[in-house]
Amino acid sequence: MRLEPRTDTPLAVRLLAPLGAVLAALALCALLVAWTGAPVLRAYGLLIEGAVGSRFALTETLTRATPLILTGLAAAVAFRAKLWNIGAEGQLYMGALAAVVLGGGMLDLPAWLLMPVVLLAGMAAGGVTLLGPAVLKVRFGVDEVVTTLLLNFVVLLFVSMLLEGALKDPMGMGWPQSAPVDPAAELPKLVERTRLHAGLAIALGLSLLLWLIDTRTIWGYENRAVGANPRAAAFAGMPVTRVMLRTALLSGGLAGLAGAAEVCGLKGYLTLDLSPGFGYSGIVVAMLAQLHPLGVVGAALFIAGIFVGADAMSRAMPVPNYIADVLVATSLLCMLVAGLLARYRLRRG
């Protein structure tokens, strides 16, 4: 038996690869679950029930998926152009920061205009945060993996400083949290008496829009060409630098929007635990989706389901909910292997 590179990967294999990866990850993590002494099948049963088994579970999963779709899109858009944006977490917080600053009574706008402006401001803040590393990359060849990753910590400390100082809610009983945003800036709920908000609709709309841009417009055409072969794109006369900066603004903007939508749709104010690593999970989402804008939706739902389901499971069994992190991380590793295997075929002899 031998592995041989495929010249072309059929669609079926490309769709089966993530599925196989997820199953492999579940199988591997079953060992950990078994180690805790819990019955594996029942644990996974509870996990699935906790993720999609009721109206409440389903809306929780969708709520959790909303920022993941956006950060997943942020990573997918950037990675396609070979811009390795590891800084979605920081961009998310910058977006959230812009949302609480502008939505907290600083702007005097008609009610119908406030929410869109706040969301756009969040996008702008995230985009500008990534623009810096992108400019350094195209001008001086500075490695954006390092700059974007380290900026995450800079942003978090900056937000922490503001929450302890200038932005601290005087009514917040001393907690490091900002004042709430104006009710007019809040995103409407999609389902009454749940936490599911209109951010989901925005995220779904954006993934469809990005897919259309990618396949139907000269913007997307340039992005794909620059991502796949910047030298050939430059030779053909495409504005490679402009494409890179545009991609940075878009990617950072999507991450910023994730933060603004969390503030305006879910939390109402900013704290340092706004995101349990949505920025980093977005990378996993994008990889599972093989950087496809529509695939991001499915991958985000999967990961959100794992997290929400694992919470429910851990309440009923002696399995800690950290199993969700392990599952997600294992899925990513399995996906990398599956992606590799999908490019090969098995041959006898």
């Binding site: 139907r216 000269i218 055409y221 072969n229 030779f235």
Partner: protein, 522 residues
């Protein structure tokens, strides 16, 4: 001087290598189909064939890079275990790859000795290694400086280091893959001298080539491969070029015949153009050049002498630091690839894989890459995919690109079809100037004659062609006038027919002192 071809190898010499029924498949492609060959001590065997005929595959099997699907190899009467370069080396087989496998930052001696010493030894016996190297160099006339860093050596010198590397490992069978592709004519002659000394010493040499004149200059026996099959084995002396060419291609080939045309108005003018390299010698040094309509100007030179900078300049990728360039009388004021396309420059890049095409994208997407902003292909930022595909279908049929259709992924095309795709993209719009950088590198004879035909057709239509090629035969076949590039400097145009191959070779090696006599004679 006795030519090697006249030196018959006695039938009684020891058989050192025997390939028997070697077959290798890559997916649907039968790269080697039941090939059997024998090689005797003191023999030079030329392995002749087009690109893709299976020459390199066969040698890679012999050297253990690939494992044959079936067939056996015997070296010096003992079976050679498949798939092990180590075993091949131990059996006395040495290989000189087309792309050298030397470390630029190490010295000649280190490059030669690397891998021959045991890993866990506190110190190496450099003095002994050096003695052995110098003795070998002396014996076979391979002059090298053992302590010079390989990065400073010329291509010809690097090749000598590669050969010495094989000899240092006591190779008795030497495989050379397209050894002359990077050499000047004089360096090639020097290589053939070396081969004679090696075979006189009892070594056997397999040398892979697709150039006919070299086969006659250097080999005793010639084996012709076509589409993976061994189609003929002849004593070189008992055959002729014409016959070999037909065997190689499988049909009659005729060389391109440029019609005599009167050059027209200038389309490209370079005046004292200098391109800085950022350190040391400029890439282009006060270059003057004029290309006129109905004219093919050939730029001859050994690789790495400024050809890339010249091509990038005319492609619009870089802007000169000094002097100026003009297209159809209009001065070029900045680096602007898209602008060059708009002004009627067809650009055929040197490296079609990395600069010419986006392999991961579809054929139609590559065909519109230079013009996607035209109203034909997009409106208000939205691609007109239907129109682009229809256009792609037209180009595919007009330029005979063999592919499943406009949606095929470009990287699945063969090299020849990729080049046709680039020709289609650039020539379909009636350009005034064609920049052809190494337009036939790596192509088979059929594709080469297609590309040449298209270039001459454009010349007849009124385009000027700037042909940059390291293949002197190609330049001699197409160019009306030739300029030689060396260390970033360009000779004046030398009319084809007034300059000999020998003179070109000297100019390519930097002997510009002969220039006055050529120019005077012309």
């Amino acid at each position: 001087m006795p030519t090697p071809a006249s030196r018959a190898v006695s039938g009684g010499a020891e058989v050192v290598l025997r390939l028997d029924g070697i077959t290798k498949r890559f997916g649907p492609l039968l790269a080697n189909d039941g090939i059997s060959l024998t090689l005797r001590a003191g023999e030079v065997l030329a392995l002749l064939g087009e690109n893709g005929a299976g020459k390199t595959t066969l040698m890679n099997i012999l050297f253990g890079h690939y494992v044959a699907d079936s067939g056996t190899i015997e070296a010096f009467g003992r079976p050679l275990p498949p798939g092990s370069p180590k075993a091949a080396l131990r059996a006395g087989i040495g290989m000189v790859h087309q792309h050298f496998t030397l470390a630029d930052n190490l010295s000649v001696l280190d490059n030669v000795a690397v891998g021959t010493e045991r890993l866990w030894r506190p110190w190496s016996d450099r003095a002994a290694a050096k003695r052995k190297l110098l003795a070998l160099a002396q014996r076979f006339g391979l002059g090298v400086r053992p302590d010079a860093p390989v990065g400073d050596l010329s291509v010809g010198e690097r090749q000598r280091v590669e050969i010495l590397k094989a000899l240092y490992r006591d190779a008795r069978i030497l495989i050379l893959d397209e050894p002359t592709a990077v050499l000047t004519p004089q360096e090639s002659a020097g290589l053939f001298d070396t081969l004679r000394k090696l075979t006189a010493d009892g070594l056997a040499v397999v040398f892979i080539s697709h150039k006919m004149n070299e086969v006659f200059a250097a080999s005793d026996t010639v084996a012709v491969l076509r589409a993976g099959k061994l189609v003929a084995t002849h004593a070189t002396a008992s055959t002729d070029q014409h016959r070999l060419a037909e065997l190689m291609v499988g049909r009659a080939v005729k060389p391109p015949a440029p019609a005599a045309l009167v050059p027209g108005a200038p389309v490209l003018e370079l005046a004292s153009v200098t391109v800085a390299s950022g350190h040391g010698r400029p890439l282009l040094d006060t270059v003057d050049l004029t290309v006129r309509r109905h004219q093919v100007i050939g730029i001859a030179g050994v690789s790495g002498n400024g050809q890339t900078a010249l091509a990038e300049l005319v492609s619009g990728l870089i802007h000169p630091a000094g002097g100026h360039a003009a297209l159809k009388g209009e001065r070029i004021d900045r680096a602007d690839p898209a602008g060059m396309v708009r002004r009627g420059v067809a650009r055929i890049p040197e490296d079609r894989h990395s600069a010419g095409l986006v392999g991961a994208m579809a054929v139609w997407e590559n065909l519109i890459a230079e013009r996607y902003r035209d109203r034909d292909f997009s409106r208000l930022g939205v691609l007109r995919r239907g129109a682009a595909r229809a256009y792609a279908r037209e180009v595919i049929s007009a330029f005979d690109v063999r592919c499943p259709g406009p949606d095929a992924r470009t990287q699945l095309l063969s090299g020849g079809n990729m080049q046709k795709l680039i020709l289609g993209r650039t020539l379909a719009h009636g350009p005034d100037l064609i920049l052809a950088s190494q337009p036939t590198r790596g192509l088979d004879v059929g594709a080469v004659s297609y590309v040449h035909g298209r270039l001459l057709e454009a010349r007849a239509r009124g385009a000027g062609v700037l042909l940059i090629s390291e293949d002197l035969d190609e330049i001699l076949a197409l160019a009306d006038s030739i300029a030689v590039i060396h260390h970033g400097r360009l000779t004046p145009l030398l009319p084809h027919g007034r300059v000999s191959v020998g003179q070109l070779g000297l100019l390519m090696a930097g002997h510009w002192d002969i220039l006055p006599e050529i120019v005077d004679a012309a």
